[in-house]
């Protein structure tokens, strides 16, 4: 009887805990959402919700070139960096997981080192180098650093997934006369696709989130991504409160994150903790 009471107590406790977690995760998001619908005096009403809802702030940000060009830059740069990083990581992870060659440890050690690297240490030298070779304030100028800093994560996630693949199939294909390259392309790539997808989502999050490179290596609308643009945003006129407009812009850049999380929750958790279950 004692145990049943304890079990019921645990049930109530975990439901309360669950509500607490959801509240914790969503409160600041709801706050930005609410602020983005406020206008006029509501912005300073010191209350959580607006008294009158408006879409005016969204109209403002989509009419502001600073934001629309930044949105275009962010989408383009993040997608290209993700595709390139995943392509390179797939090759490397396959080799690390499957082939025997010297230098494997070196690649893994370097990936570990880069994951711990203080990004800001690099912006000065990169700023200098990029300026001298013409990459400053361009898309490739951001795509290249995003690739370097997402490769370690992608390589680990992918090699973890690659270990789960039934490799007998590859051997079977090689028995049937396929070269290692053909076996990789025709047999393994389709099987590895879910892992590749997971790594791609995590890589996209990184590129989408970046701020340090975004403000240091750009100077105009030509390449500046949204997080950097948000920091420069001042509202439609200098007399207008930028808070609500910035919130609207913030909501817009949060939409892709929420969509990806809603669709691929299971994959993201698996990617973040991959290797943990098998040990």
């Amino acid at each position: 009887m004692n145990r049943r009471v304890a079990a019921r107590g645990r049930g109530v406790g975990s439901v309360l805990g669950a509500i607490l977690i959801v509240g914790y995760a969503l409160l600041p998001v709801l706050w930005v959402l609410s602020l983005s619908f406020k206008q006029g005096d509501d912005i300073n009403n010191h209350a959580f919700w607006p008294t009158a809802w408006t879409l005016e702030n969204y109209r403002t940000v989509f009419k502001t070139p600073l934001f629309t060009s930044a949105l275009r830059n962010s989408i383009g740069i993040s997608l290209i960096a993700t595709v390139l990083s995943i392509a390179l990581a797939t090759f490397a992870a396959y080799a690390i997981a499957r082939l025997k060659f010297r230098g494997k440890k070196l690649v893994l050690a370097m990936a570990l080192a880069i994951a711990m690297f203080p990004v800001v240490s690099l912006v000065g030298p990169l700023f200098n180098i990029w300026r001298s070779i013409g990459l400053y304030d361009t898309w490739p100028g951001l795509i290249i650093p995003y690739m370097s800093f997402t490769l370690p994560l992608s390589i680990w996630v992918l090699s973890a997934f690659f270990r789960e693949i039934p490799w007998e199939l590859e051997q079977a294909a090689q028995m049937d006369g396929a070269t290692p390259w053909q076996a990789f392309r025709k047999v393994i790539v389709p099987l590895a696709a879910p892992g590749v997808f997971t790594a791609a989502i995590l890589t996209f999050f990184f590129a989408w989130n970046d701020f340090v490179f975004g403000i240091s290596l750009t100077s105009t609308d030509g390449a500046r991504p949204v997080p950097a643009a948000l920091a420069f945003f001042t509202g439609a006129s200098q007399f207008q409160q930028p808070a609500a407009a910035i919130s609207a812009a913030a909501v817009v850049v949060t939409v892709p994150v929420v969509v990806l999380v809603l669709l691929f929750q299971r994959k993201i958790v698996a990617g973040l903790t991959s290797g943990a279950v098998k040990g």
Partner: protein, 319 residues
């Protein structure tokens, strides 16, 4: 990071009969082909990783030996280690180090406690599991700058609701040192606790249920089970999560930039490096700060691995 470390263990721990055989017999065409393919497949990733980290870092070491401002290229002059002397004898550097250490210690400690609590809840719940995990991933995925703005507007005097909710009158959060740091820590903690808790959840799932059951049979209280059974059994996962979060927290930049812009003595080491190089374009001095920042991260990592004997082969999760 999880996959990597599991990979590391596999490589180091795996017996290698194949290598022994390869040494006995002459290298076959097939082995040669495999080796070459291995290099060809890893080379592009290797080069890209090296190009944007190792070369600029060496460049920073080189630049740090000069007195050099972009606005005055003609005045460039070799000064040896004088830039380091300037930085290390400046009170500003030590104040920024202190601020950074304070933010790091506070956020990681709080994240560890909240993250552990969240992990235990997520480990238990049956109903709504999907919704809880989905919502906890939103702070993880959200842009740090957005999080910083959300908390800034929540605390700020003109737009904020926090003072109203907690009856704090017109407390100007961003006009004082302590309250500014508090707001920055809130933003950082909110954004990164989900990551911590997912790593801890993975570690928690590995604690054998039989151990818990046995402890319960022996009449252990909840607290005893937590501190004597659960935590010791997931020590590896905890240590690795703390190590990677510490290194990440030490680089704090985005929140400081958005919330205070370094005002009220909230400047961190990363922010100082950025301000010297990009703001003041003092590449020599800024590079010295960058190199010192890099060295302190290396020092923290080494100290952690040495002091807590963090077994990286136990690592779970990533940054």
């Amino acid at each position: 990071m999880a996959p990597m470390t599991t990979t590391l263990r596999r490589w180091y721990g795996r017996p290698r009969p194949a290598t022994a055989r390869a040494r006995a017999v002459p290298v076959t065409d097939r082995a040669l082909h495999e080796r070459r393919l291995g290099w060809e497949l890893t080379a592009p990733a290797f080069v890209v990783m090296l190009l944007v980290t190792a070369y600029p870092m060496l460049n920073a070491v080189w630049l740090s030996l000069f007195s050099y401002r972009i606005t005055d290229p003609a005045g460039r002059e070799f000064v040896g280690l004088r830039n380091y002397a300037v930085v290390l004898t400046d009170a500003l550097w030590w104040r920024d180090v202190w601020t950074t250490v304070l933010i790091t210690v506070v956020t990681v400690a709080v994240e560890l406690v909240i993250g552990m609590a969240f992990a235990m809840v997520m480990n238990r719940i049956v109903f709504g599991r999907r919704w809880v995990r989905t919502s906890i991933l939103i702070p993880y995925g959200i842009v740090t700058v957005v999080s910083a703005f959300a908390w800034r507007y929540a605390f700020s005097l003109d737009t904020g609701f926090v003072n109203g909710w907690f009856g704090l009158g017109d407390l100007a959060w961003f006009s004082h040192h302590g309250t500014s740091l508090f707001a920055i820590c809130m933003s950082e903690i909110w954004k990164t606790t989900p990551f911590m808790s997912l790593l801890l959840l993975a570690g928690l799932a590995q604690v054998p249920e039989e151990l818990q059951e046995a402890a319960r049979m022996d009449g252990a209280t909840w607290r005893q089970r937590l501190f004597r059974v659960t935590l010791p059994n997931m020590k590896g996962a905890i240590m690795v999560a703390v190590l990677f979060r510490t290194l990440d927290a030490y680089r704090v930049f985005d929140s400081v930039f958005v919330m205070t812009n370094g005002a009220q003595e909230t400047e961190t080491v990363s922010f100082l490096a950025y301000r010297q190089m990009i703001g003041r374009t003092a590449l020599g001095l800024g590079s010295a700060v960058s190199v010192l920042l890099f060295l302190s991260v290396v020092f923290i990592a080494a100290a952690f691995i040495k002091a807590f004997k963090v077994d990286l082969s136990q690592a779970r999760g990533e940054r």
